[in-house]
Symmetry: C2
Subunit: 462 residues, 2 copies
């Protein structure tokens, strides 16, 4: 798609302004802020930003854009990592941050209905007095709309699933401006194609998500947390595999490699071993979480785990997890003045140790440091390149390492992204991953968005 | 679509016979057996039945059918309940029962790859010595291919999910005869549209499923089972809601109404109260399943539950569950010489008691008995009409009750089918349930199967 002729754009902007007034802006600072995510991608500002406040307003924007064939780019918290919000072909950015109401909390059904601008932390704050919580936790305080659009997950996915498993129903505005509800609120259904799952992970390319019904969970009676260092990555991963095979309903199981632990120790000034480390969390009854922690302690010992510490004390638990939470800042501290480029892959867990070890060998031979952290129960891990984005040689090197990482993951029957999404940063890897299946994705895109106005240039090229 | 002209059909049959030889049959007895499921629907025999043995043979059949625009109807164990296998417009039935190999068991990754004709019991038999099991258990010994196609579930869904959550990846033959793999084997992915979930529940209308990779689980260390009678349906459902809210990871929680319990007592000649009854099962450690059972025992007591019996003894557990397993036969025993017509709906659990009580009032005013059993943790329940299928008056009455049941479920934000699927039996309810969303389903169907040859007349009319 070529850049729109200004006359068409002007007409669309005029129609939208008639509905939104000042909430449609063409100020350059606002446009620039909306054309970039939190990653390394070249930003591309939209032609205007629409601060919508209702589904009806989204419909008005989309209808105007459909009429003049102007791209529509949804925008939530702006925390996307693969250039999802870049307006590659210009167009109108639909900023949903003002659509931030929790619309319904159904305590008996353990579900909530929210507008797309509600962030995950906001939702949990809102739920605080209900005894319920929403477990999906990407690192950033992302919006639920954005998390749905990218099929996000985080540390709790091994127990509670990803957005794929936790979205019950969506309201979406289609490319022709219709309002569609993808599903009823029943926990399960065999009534027709799974439109909910089709829109989860569609990154704004099939429609704009305007309401999300997600599952929530009772806050567990008790929680125990644990931390343990291992002689090598394989021992840590094998501990994880044995834990899951034994049916331990582990809530979190996180891995950091040696370099990451060194970075954390330096950043946090705490005394932790410079060795591959697992963090674990268990949810259940008082006796249950004790039993689970002790069970895994024994498994870890069999695999050479040292100094397995576990606790149910909230202050101690916080201290254990603080080290994990410090990972990103600690990485940045490895090279002063440098930026972070986080990438992710996911492989079958049986290949995870191999994938990490081979990747580490690659990194050892490179001049760019890249600590590894992973949601190891899912086989998902992140490289965090610490580099000078202004140096083309460094960017080229990170690209080379990223390419090799992804092809390594694909060769192990893995995926080019476990939870960050495709955006335009990983669009070229999709064919390598899916082959012929990409043509089916393209057919679906063309059928639901024949004029290619919904976030064009993301996921599939048309 | 009109009935194919015989000359086109003959040409397709000749091409397929060149590949399959005697494994393509036009014998009337075989065709008739393949044109019906296990339900009340008018059977419609296909023009021929192809007993395929490989993906390549499926490709050959589909390509011949695509060339001559002949319908393709996949067939597994023949246990569908909404007329899924009826060849409404004639065509070639693709019988996959000979594609019944378990292709891979990945014990570290807890997944298996199977051909579509493998049945769930066959798979569990195969897994017996591995310490793993596949939990999805619709009543019948359905094929994994059919279970995938109908998004099936069963008694374990409250803990382990449905086919929606348990299919990792599919190989499918598309309407134009291409072989597509929908996903890699990684546990999670954000790489593009969720084609796996699109094909799960598509009932053969988008392609023929030729391989399925599903999750499996470690057999729990311990299992406890429980049974308890309640003064009314609401007390039983409230016990279920409180159990789930408390975060008890209940593996099964099944409900039967008073009529069903009377039928079971009469059939099995056992002494059980004629009252709404819950069965429960807990999976975990020895102490865990004891703790869970006792916790729920206390919840049940608060809701008027009487004589809550629980046990970890295998023989006792079997006895407890035998009563539940007898439900279908017991229902049939209510009226000698009559048939069973099983329908299902699913509602948010907060509305489940209302939905069942209102339905019972409907049934009390009718001359057709219909016991109720339900997977109550999901809000899913079945009516089991016991009727004389040869009496149009009885069939009309069951249809009337079924219509009212479905519209009642829809009015409670539920679905017209929780686990049986749409087939052609529930196709007219889909618009009532999904409204505008059905047009999106139609757009997807048209884009992936432009000539409407894949199981035409099911899910969406084109």
């Amino acid at each position: 798609m070529l850049r729109q002729r200004p006359v068409m754009l002007d007409a669309a902007i005029a129609e939208i302004r008639a509905v939104l007034g000042d909430r449609l802006t063409i100020a350059m600072a606002v446009r620039e802020q909306h054309g970039k995510g939190e990653a390394y991608h070249k930003p591309a500002p939209p032609d205007a930003v629409a601060f919508v406040e209702s589904t009806e307003e989204v419909v008005a924007v989309v209808k105007a854009c459909a009429k003049y064939r102007i791209p529509v780019i949804p925008f939530g918290a702006g925390t996307a990592l693969e250039g999802h919000t870049a307006a590659l072909h210009g167009g109108i950015c639909v900023d949903v941050t003002r659509m931030n109401k929790v619309l319904a909390v159904n305590t008996s059904d353990l579900d909530v209905r929210v507008q797309p601008g509600v962030t995950r932390k906001q939702l949990n704050e809102y739920l605080r007095d209900t005894g319920l919580f929403f477990p999906i936790d990407p690192g950033a305080d992302a919006s639920i709309g954005g998390m749905t659009a990218t099929r996000a997950s985080g540390t709790n996915a091994v127990r509670y699933g990803t957005m794929r498993e936790n979205v019950l129903s969506l309201e979406v505005v289609t490319a022709d401006g219709r309002v569609v509800r993808t599903s009823r609120r029943a926990r399960k259904s065999s009534a027709g194609y799974d439109l909910t799952r089709l829109f989860v992970g569609s990154e704004g390319t099939l429609g704009v998500i305007t309401e999300i019904t997600v599952k929530v969970y009772g806050i567990p009676e008790a929680t125990s947390s644990a931390m343990c260092a291992f002689p090598d990555v394989k021992s840590a991963v094998d501990t994880c595999i044995a834990t899951i095979q034994a049916g331990i309903p582990v809530a979190r199981i996180e891995l950091a490699d040696k370099l990451q632990m060194e970075a954390i120790a330096a950043y946090s000034k705490i005394n932790i071993p410079a060795a591959p480390t697992l963090w674990l969390e268990f949810h259940g009854s008082e006796t249950g979480v004790k039993e689970q922690a002790e069970f895994v302690q024994a498994i870890a010992a069999e695999h050479g785990g040292e100094d397995f510490r576990w606790t149910t004390d909230p202050a101690e638990r916080k201290k254990i997890w603080q080290a994990r939470h410090d990972a990103a800042y600690a990485s940045k501290g490895l090279r002063q003045g440098c930026s972070i480029w986080a990438t992710d892959v996911c492989v079958p867990i049986s290949r995870l140790a191999d994938c990490i070890v081979e990747t580490q060998a690659d990194l050892d031979a490179s001049f760019i440091p890249a600590p590894i952290v992973g949601h190891v129960g899912d086989g998902n891990f992140h490289l965090c390149f610490v580099l000078n984005m202004d140096d083309p040689k460094e960017v080229a090197e990170a690209n080379r390492l990223n390419d090799r990482l992804i092809h390594r993951a694909l060769s192990m029957d893995g995926t080019c992204t476990g939870e960050h999404g495709v955006g335009y940063g990983k669009i070229d890897f999709l064919t390598a991953e899916h082959g012929e299946a990409v043509s089916l994705m393209r057919m679906i895109k063309k059928s639901l968005d024949p004029d290619n106005i919904m976030n064009p240039g993301k996921i599939v090229r048309v």
